[in-house]
Amino acid sequence: MKDDAVQVDSNRARLAVLKHTIGGRMRFPRERRGVWILNAALLVVLAFEAPTFYTAGNIETVLGDTAILGIVAAGMTVLIMAGAFDLSVTSIMGLAPIVAVSVAGDGSGLSLLLLSVLTGVGLGVVNGLVVTRGRVAPFVATLGTLFVFGSIADIISKGNALVVTNPTVLRLGTGSVGQLVPYSFLIMIAVFGMCHVLLRRLHLGRWVRAAGSNLRAAHVGGIDVRWVYFALFVISGALTGLAGILLSGYLSSADATQAPNYNLNAIAVVVVGGTSLRGGEGTLVGTALAAWLFAVVGNGLVLLGVNSYWQYVATGIIVILALILGKVGFGGEIWPRRRGISGGAPPQSLDVAPTAAAAVDSAPSDV
């Protein structure tokens, strides 16, 4: 019995060394493997079956589709790394441009853009306050604000779509550089760059990962987790407001329901990209690749002449495949078979992640 355990341990050690050497040279982390393989497979299939995919006009469309979901998913990645969720993005994407258009519909493009982002910031502040001061878990807090913000958007727009006429906003939503790279995609690149700096170059990034991997330990370690959560919700709100006005420009209207299911889709993108819902670690590159993957699937199915309703089925299959591909292989959970508890485990922090406030409560009093 004991020998057995020792044997397993030494095997594990060998495996770890092997993994380290391979991983160290190839920089090909397992959690991102799924999105890479699926992307490659799709692009190869499309090259043979639908060569029109590779025309400049089509690539422009796909990049445009990538951008808006990608911007929302970037904020969501940072939130999920900290162990939180924002389900209210769907409503913020409707409400922010509606506020902007109804306040400054005739104003300059810049004022519309700023107003939308600022509205997003304001709504993010509300989310942040409910989570950090109201002591509500992020998942349910943003579930509540999802209803509230959505309803407010409906009330302001009276349930109608507001027409967007501002040429700057329309150009931002539909225009592109050299008929190839949409402006919205450039904005997305900038957003990812900003998030990368936030996560890798600022103290906040370290605090995000600390809070995500163990909220209580982070608090005991002297990190103001409430402030971290608050800041992240504000950032996510701002990015969502930005994505909202871009989407309005693309659709040339601002509608309360213009972004249905963006909350769950953004989470799906983050997960497919290889960020764990357990929090503490994540990958922006993976998120960007996953957003591109989703856009390619939607576009590719149309080019292949498949009924567009298959897109929903394909999305689900991709989510499952990406996760399975990330689990297979050395040290993976599915094959070779891992010892110990197998499967069944609802993720540790997912749903709820004890709120920042709760962590503060449960901390020893001598802190």
Binding site: L87, V130, G134, R135, V136, A137, F139, V140, A141, L143, G144, T145, L146, F147, V148, G150, S151, I152, D154, I155, G159, H219, R226, L264, I267, A268, V271, L277, N307, Y309, W310, Q311, Y312, V313, A314, T315, G316, I317, V319, I320, L323, I324, K327, E333, I334, I341, G343, G344, A345, P346, P347, L350, D351, V352, A357, V360, D361, A363, P364, V367
Partner: protein, 323 residues
């Protein structure tokens, strides 16, 4: 006596739902006497029954510290398949059995994805949410299917003895069964044990796989039943049935006093919260406020209930609060 009872109500997890539901009922009846008319109350009972049934299943899933995001899609698919079969002239009894079987089957698929592949329940059911919606659209091609079957409709809205809609009886039966399962069987205790501490549950020899699969089959069954009832009530079925129902169901469960941290479930609170949601919708309609305000009120109650709850728990440990 009254004081003690009221104290107990205030201390219960379901306090928020009970108080808010009572408050909403009283407020609307005072504002407008039409709120208490037979027709309106019947409408509230049917709507509450339908959302309560899904909520009851979801309560067990949340007690297990998992989530099922696919309930909305399961509702839609069950209703669509039922409508499709009725159109083909299949007898009503078989149609209902088929619809419920679809729900159980989809629940089984969810359970297998979670246990066999070790996917987090959130992600697995997010994937099936999308896939089932796709199947719905492929069946209906985006069209609406009409149900021309009075018997099906009567099964939901008929008043028994001119008093109680059948839907309420169905919901009561589901409540009784789920309550017995959760509180009076080893299976129910295992669900709560897994939600409380999964490692401890494994150590105690609980068959996590079987319990997880069983719970997801149960919630699939509940969702399919809700879907069938929705279809029977509306008589027109399309893929928007059950759209976003998963988030509403989670909200209902949470307002009912069940925490997402798992280990506990408050079935009675879930039923009260479902009643609350239905009363808000019907009440705002009666007092002539646009239905656009429904979500504002419900979301507001959700946030306030949780904040009061958080502050109540926080005040007990104020000494340790670090800001």
């Amino acid at each position: 006596m009254i004081l003690r009872t009221s104290k107990r109500v205030l201390a219960a997890d379901s306090a928020a739902a009970v108080i808010a539901a009572a408050g909403v009922f009283v407020a609307f009846s005072l504002i407008n006497s039409h709120f208490l008319t037979r027709l309106n109350i019947d409408g509230i009972i049917v709507a509450a029954s339908i959302s309560a049934i899904t909520g009851l299943g979801m309560t067990l899933v949340i007690a297990m510290r998992a989530l099922d995001l696919s309930v909305g899609s399961i509702m839609g698919l069950a209703a669509i398949i039922a409508a499709h079969l009725l159109g083909e002239g299949v007898p009503l009894g078989l149609v209902i059995i088929a619809g419920l079987a679809v729900g159980c089957g989809l629940g089984l698929i969810n359970g297998l994805l979670i246990t066999m592949l070790g996917l987090p329940s959130f992600v697995a059911t997010l994937a099936t949410l999308s896939m089932i919606l796709g199947v719905e659209l492929l069946i209906t091609q985006g069209q609406t299917i009409s149900i021309h079957n009075i018997g099906f409709n009567k099964l939901v809205v008929t008043n028994i003895g001119g008093f109680l809609p059948v839907a309420a009886v169905v919901a009561a039966a589901v409540f009784a069964v789920v309550w017995l399962i959760f509180h009076r069987t080893p299976f129910g205790r295992h669900v709560a044990a897994i939600g409380g501490d999964e490692r401890a549950a494994v150590g105690a020899g609980i068959n996590i796989m079987a319990v997880t699969i069983g719970t997801f089959v149960l919630v699939g069954f509940c969702a399919a039943l809700s879907g069938l009832m929705t279809g029977a009530q509306l008589q027109n079925v399309d893929s928007t049935i059950g759209a976003n129902a998963e988030l509403t169901a989670i909200a209902v469960v949470v307002v009912g006093g069940t925490s997402l941290t798992g280990g506990r479930g408050n079935l009675f609170g879930t039923v009260c919260a479902a009643g609350l949601l239905a009363a808000i919708e019907a009440g705002l309609n009666v007092v002539n406020v646009s239905s656009l305000y429904d979500d504002l009120v419900f979301g507001g109650i959700l946030i306030i209930a949780l904040m009061v709850d958080g502050l109540r728990r926080g005040s007990r440990r104020r000494g340790t609060l670090v800001t």
